[in-house]
């Protein structure tokens, strides 16, 4: 507005983001103003107070700063851009020290999730590297790093270092490389409480002893724990997604310790494995990633209502931001849905949920995330959101309208027919086999990429 349109502007954010403005090449060069934090959720009276109260940055009344912004020359010295100061030792060895001191160094530098790590010695990293056919210096991918408004690139060796730190055995390494190849962060640069799920399919699950049965989402299994942990360590060590640094999640999420890492119980499932739904062959090993905000348990079985009714009740109170849902269900639930309710395929039940999970339009539009992320689509006339916006307040709408956005995964040990339901969206799947040291039985093409579908659009939430 200032530069291109010549309009004096008073851009606002809250005091919580002063440091963000300082690091931003655009925001740092315009005269930003600040309110106290937060704005969201404050009453009219409180916001009237913000207007006449002091700008936490200048100590002057906000309204006076606005008027001055419009009518007085802006002092360039007061513009905030400083740029990020980033110190990196990529590919370097650390100064030799005792194990205790090095553990403390990793903690102080933010190279941990808070738990002790396995120190990545050259010998350990070399053992990890021997578990893949990929060269140590091969670039696996890149991720965006918020404070530098830039990206980081990471190699196979960088991933091996993280794998060692997480406590991985070398045989887990191809799975961890596949996770890294997704180029998706486990932790988000967001003020909201994000979380994610890692799902492993195919023969590698049993080869490395992953738990897909009783307590698959509980602590206790090394592969589940370590692979999920490695993903979060990539976020903290490479992208500096630490609380108050590049991550501002107000409450955070304990799910980020291992990101719901588990394997699908393909043996006990009456349905097609998840990776086969995504175009892979059953004998391929694949990791799939889901992300979102809400992950809810079913407290008990569906004894008084049908399974479908219970799930629809839960979905009717979850903000359906992207119309996505992921249900992680015990094999017993899948069996009942098939044998008692006639859903012969996962797709059939996804279709049913898409038609029967409903909520009043007023509730839908009352969700904060829906208001600021979905309403712009409705205002552009994009369906079905435009129709949802025209609906009467008490009219029931079907916010999970697209069955292809409803993912069903079978996990668990058949001890109780329960499930977990979420608005997690499917982000993408990555081949594990292409990273193995030896070609797997599934790898029958020359370039190792046959059978891998085009990546699903990963920008579902971006």
């Amino acid at each position: 507005m200032e530069q291109k349109y010549g309009i004096p502007t008073a851009p606002f954010t809250t005091e919580a983001f002063i440091s963000v403005v300082e690091e931003d090449r655009k925001a740092g060069f315009v005269p930003f103003l600040y309110t106290p934090h937060p704005v969201i959720g404050m009453s009219d009276e409180a916001l009237d107070g913000y207007v006449v109260g002091n700008n936490p940055d200048t100590g002057r009344p906000v309204i006076e700063d606005i008027i001055d912004n419009f009518t007085k020359p802006v002092d360039p010295a007061k513009l905030k851009f400083k740029g990020a100061v980033v110190d990196t030792d990529g590919d370097a060895y650390l100064k030799p020290d005792t194990e205790e001191n090095l553990q403390q160094l990793f903690y102080e530098r933010g190279w941990t999730d808070g738990l002790p790590i396995v120190l990545p010695t050259q010998e350990r990293v070399d053992r990890m590297l021997a578990a893949t056919c990929a060269a140590p210096e091969e670039i696996v991918g890149e991720m965006m790093r918020f404070d530098i408004r830039g990206t980081v690139q990471y190699t196979v060796k960088n991933v091996a270092t993280i794998a060692v730190m997480a406590g991985a055995k070398p045989e887990y390494f191809p799975v961890i490389l596949a996770v890294a190849a997704s180029q998706l962060e486990a932790i988000q640069s967001s003020t909201s409480n994000w979380s994610a799920m890692l799902l492993v399919n195919g023969p590698i699950r049993n080869e490395i002893g992953m738990n897909s049965g009783i307590g698959a989402l509980s602590p206790g299994n090394m592969a589940n724990a370590v692979i999920g942990r490695a993903w979060s360590l990539m976020s903290t060590c490479w992208v500096d997604l630490r609380p108050g640094k590049n991550m501002w999640s107000s409450l955070g999420s304990s799910l980020n310790y291992n990101n719901n890492c588990c394997a699908e119980n393909e043996e006990a499932s009456v349905w097609e494995p998840f990776h086969v739904q995504k175009g892979f062959r059953k004998e391929e090993s694949v990791v799939s990633i889901f992300r979102g905000w809400v992950f809810v348990n079913s407290a008990g079985s569906a004894s008084q209502r049908s399974i479908g009714e219970e799930m629809c009740l839960q979905l009717s109170t979850i903000p359906p931001t992207n119309g996505t849902a992921t249900v992680v269900m015990d094999p017993g639930i899948a069996r009942m849905l098939k044998e008692n309710y006639g859903f012969t395929k996962k797709e059939d039940f996804s279709q049913w949920l898409s038609e029967n999970a409903k909520m009043p339009a007023e509730r839908f539009w009352g969700y904060d995330h829906v208001d600021w992320m979905v309403k712009p689509l409705a205002l552009q006339g994009i369906e079905p959101y435009a129709s949802f916006l025209r609906a009467k307040p008490d009219e029931l709408i079907t916010p999970y309208f697209d069955p292809e956005r409803i993912n069903l995964v079978v996990v668990g040990g058949d001890t109780n027919p329960l499930w977990k339901i979420s608005e997690y969206g499917y982000a993408r799947s990555e081949s594990v086999d292409k990273w193995r040291a030896e070609p797997s039985a599934a790898d029958d093409c020359a370039d190792g990429s046959c059978g891998i579908p085009d990546p699903y659009d990963p920008a579902e939430y971006e």
Binding site: Q3, I7, P38, T71, G90
Partner: protein, 110 residues
């Protein structure tokens, strides 16, 4: 007695780091390029642009109330920015402000 580790320990930091690249990259703006300021707000039109982030519309309502009460000679126009709060540009709205307005408050992130 503390024992120094014999083996080299690697830094876990990534291979390379490229600043100002990707979806949030931007060219640094020249400080001198800010718009010319107004001589007064009297008789002017101020756009109050709600970016759609939670609570923004209520803050703009609060500003609107203040101007009506305290500076009635200022016309306020409250608008919601179309598109995503963070990602989409809204040139039609900016053109409207240029054509019909004299100043703009835009917010509130956070």
């Amino acid at each position: 007695m503390a024992i120094i580790l014999y083996d080299n320990v690697l830094s876990p930091e990534p291979h390379s780091l490229v600043e100002n690249k990707g979806i949030f990259s931007a060219t640094a703006l020249a400080k001198e390029s800010l718009a010319e300021r107004l001589d007064t707000l009297e008789g002017k039109t101020v756009y109050l642009v709600d970016i759609g982030y939670g609570g923004s519309y209520k803050f703009m309502q609060a500003l609107e109330r203040w101007f009506k009460r305290n500076m009635p000679a200022v016309t306020t126009v409250r608008k919601r920015k179309p598109g995503s709060s963070f990602m989409d540009d809204s040139p039609e709205l900016w053109e409207e402000i240029k054509a019909k307005g004299h100043a703009a408050v835009i917010g509130v992130g956070g």
